[in-house]
């Protein structure tokens, strides 16, 4: 039913996800367990960040293995999907973010309790929440843009 190659791609992906999850859980338990109090609050933040980075490194490794298992047709499809899917996703997200930032959610659900609560916020609190939303939105957008720029630059330089 499934080709060996497809099974290997899924195998690497699932194994990577599982290992990444284990690394993250073990890392968090070690860092936030009672025995790690010597790290202090700042140390725990750094160690948790490192655990997240190690977990993502596992995913990156599995993504690399999975990609190398694909034949060129699927590799090309993946490139096209990430390029155009990423661009379309980013472009679509902009009007959505603007809609949310300017309070558009109240148009969709004017009687929702969460929104009702925000109507009691002071202007400063409201602006702070908008700033938090904006930062939350911009982080993945910027990270994706920077990642794209780095890979594009590496590709051009390495092909010289």
């Amino acid at each position: 039913m499934f080709e060996q190659r497809t099974l290997r791609v899924w195998g690497y992906s699932l194994a990577g996800g599982l290992v990444a999850f284990i690394v993250w859980i073990v890392g968090v338990r070690l860092v936030w367990g009672p025995g790690a109090s010597v790290l202090g609050h700042d140390g725990r933040i750094v160690a948790t960040t490192l655990a997240a980075a190690a977990s993502m490194a596992c995913l990156a490794a599995s993504a690399r293995f999975a990609f190398r298992q694909m034949d060129e047709f699927y590799q090309q499809g993946s490139r096209v999907a990430w390029y155009w899917g990423g661009i379309v996703g980013l472009l679509v997200s902009v009007p959505i973010a603007i809609f949310v930032e300017f309070g558009g959610l109240t148009l969709l659900a004017p009687y929702a309790s969460a929104i009702h609560v925000t109507s009691h916020l002071t202007p400063e609190e409201g602006r702070a929440r908008v700033a938090i939303f904006r930062m939350g939105y911009l982080l993945p957008v910027l990270a994706q843009g920077i990642g794209f720029a780095i890979v594009a630059a590496w590709w051009r330089l390495s092909k010289r």
């Binding site: 080709e3 190659r5 497809t6 034949d71 060129e72 047709f73 699927y74 090309q76």
Partner: protein
């Protein structure tokens, strides 16, 4: 001038992969296994939805013991 204009156009490739495969009574899966690619890749190449890379094109040519230009040609 015509050559320059031709360069600006997307070149549509055609191929004889399906005919060559049929001559040998191979299924798409058989050919895919020999080429070490997926069956979907063979199907996409045969239907002209995907143009193989040069290495894969050479591999196909070697497998059928024919020059590349005898298998792949520019479409009309």
């Amino acid at each position: 001038m015509a050559a320059v204009e031709a360069l600006g156009r997307d070149i549509q490739m055609k191929n004889r992969l399906k005919v060559l495969r049929a001559e040998r009574d191979w299924s798409q899966a058989d050919l895919a296994e020999r080429l070490e690619v997926s069956r979907q890749s063979v199907n996409a190449i045969e239907t002209g939805k995907y143009d193989p890379s040069l290495p894969l094109a050479f591999k196909i040519a070697r497998l059928f013991d024919q020059p590349i230009e005898a298998i792949f040609r520019e479409g009309d």
